[in-house]
Symmetry: C2
Subunit: 317 residues, 2 copies
């Protein structure tokens, strides 16, 4: 059997046909044009699903379901997207609307949960009963897999690990709270930290790397400077790694997953990032000597995680 997965983003709608093992057989995308009303967007999602199935040369009777991964807060049981900020969606009946065009079961979950499911079935967390996928991006996305299924609490709103306070009354977070992990260890936070350091240290390599145009600073700038021996860059990287590690130690003390996969652009730093993180984490966690330890690794599926995970919602139902 095959499963359609839809990665609904603010910019693009990406649709893929996925096999039982989580491999993408064929994929396609169209712009979301997110200013539009939801019926138009959902019509495009349904039509692109049918096109992808057809273009893959697969019969409709071999397709089991369509899964949708979306930003925001879903009501998974009823297939309703309660809220998605970057889509201006409120209480959108994803399932009911799409079933006007496609006679298949429609499943829905949020993008971070879907990414965790993808890594669990076909990526870095394959084989683990319990795993957590953390995406270090604009925010920090968290997805928790328990017993092979997405854990989302009694109201589908769980696993907001980025909004775990690690510094009471600390940095302001976009969620309204202060001191969230996301406000210290997201890519956005690292860019803010790097910009502040560039202002405070105008002769540092950071300023040179961006030709003194601080708006060009991205999440890679501090790492690039550190790798070239810049003191300010190294201090930024050390501090950032410390914040990532403190949050991961919390995740381990709380969940003790077999595997934690780290995704998002910053995860491309690979072992340069993970090796010092592991050292800090093992200094911090409560786990006793002799008790098996969580593996901390890089997420494998990158941008495909959205399609694969959304598709696999149909498999674990």
């Amino acid at each position: 059997m095959y499963y359609v997965g839809i990665d609904l983003g603010g910019t693009n709608i990406a649709v893929g046909l996925v096999d039982e093992e989580g491999n993408i057989i064929h994929k396609d995308s169209v712009p979301t044009l997110s200013e539009r009303e939801y019926p138009e967007i959902l019509y495009d999602m349904a039509m692109l699903s049918l096109k992808v199935i057809k273009d893959a040369g697969v019969s409709m009777k071999d397709v089991k379901s369509i899964g949708v991964g979306s930003p925001g807060t879903p009501n998974c049981a009823e297939g309703i997207l309660i809220y998605a900020n970057n889509l201006k969606f409120r209480n959108v009946p994803i399932r009911a609307e799409m079933q006007k065009y496609v006679d298949l079961p429609i499943y829905l979950d949020n993008d971070a949960n879907v990414a965790a499911l993808a890594e669990s079935i076909a990526g870095a967390c394959k084989g683990a009963k319990h795993s957590v996928t953390i995406t270090l991006g604009t925010g920090i996305g968290g997805g928790v897999i328990i017993d092979g299924k997405v854990y989302s609490g009694f109201n589908n709103a769980a696993a907001e690990i980025g909004h775990m306070a690690i510094v009471v009354d600390g940095e302001q977070c976009t969620c309204g709270r202060k001191g969230c992990w996301e406000a210290y260890a997201s890519a956005t936070a690292l860019i803010r930290q790097t910009s502040n350091a560039a202002v405070a240290n105008p002769t540092s390599l950071i300023n040179k790397l961006v030709n003194n145009d601080l708006t060009k600073i991205d999440a890679k700038t501090a790492f690039d400077a550190a790798k070239q021996g810049d003191r300010v860059g190294q201090e930024l990287v050390d501090q950032y790694i410390k914040y990532v590690a403190e949050g991961l130690a919390n995740v381990i003390n709380i969940f003790q997953p077999e595997i934690i996969a780290i995704g998002g652009g910053i995860s491309r730093e690979g072992e340069y990032l993970l090796k010092p993180i592991r050292e800090l984490v093992w200094q911090s966690v409560y786990t006793l000597e002799g008790v098996p330890r969580t593996t901390i690794t890089v997420a494998q599926l990158g941008n495909d995680a959205g399609i694969v995970g959304a598709a696999m919602l149909g498999k674990i139902m």
Copy 2:
């Protein structure tokens, strides 16, 4: 059917016979005398179990299992207690040793997990699929119930929620890490905060309440002073409630349990404690308007939670 539950503590071994609904039919206890070697302690546990069954007038064939709740880190699958500080136990084969004397299945889990299971089956969290029980005591114990079962990660060491850092590089915790929730919101932390405030404010009501003997300060002192209008007491209570609430907001953002039960001596403050906590929590959590909210309540089973939860380990297997 009936289930034996053993609450193995540093001071006493409490044993109870429990019915299917989690009611204690009969209970008894003996001193642990924790300086002894483990075979003697486990012999006493087995003998007291047999005595409790006999004294209750129940036939052995109507008893399904014995469950043991213990401090420390268990290997639940193999029935081995890997480590328990206050018992000087390391790699103690609880199951194998007790089965020398009693021909029943023997189950093992740690005390915080067992308390959560008890509240889930017969206490404050009854009826909830997902719940968390937090015990504010010497430390902060956490127990997580997911789908009606104890969640303990891939290595039985999960749910150490008290060792979630809420202030990076903050107060020293007994676990070796800095800034753990336990270092701010346990009874021990409140006593430390109260003592420090008493030293800094020698004319406060706190000093009067303990006749200027600061060693008499307990977790109730600040609450008692606050209730009598003392400014220092009120500030202590406000600060303590803030720390409890920050940790609970993290627990909600991460787990979104249907119910959180708060146990331990401090929970006897009841609504005086919980009402302001809820207000702070609802200001902090990520949960959207319109999404169902976690109920925060007081744990119901008190000291019986250890016996009831240990017994119920046999029911959920």
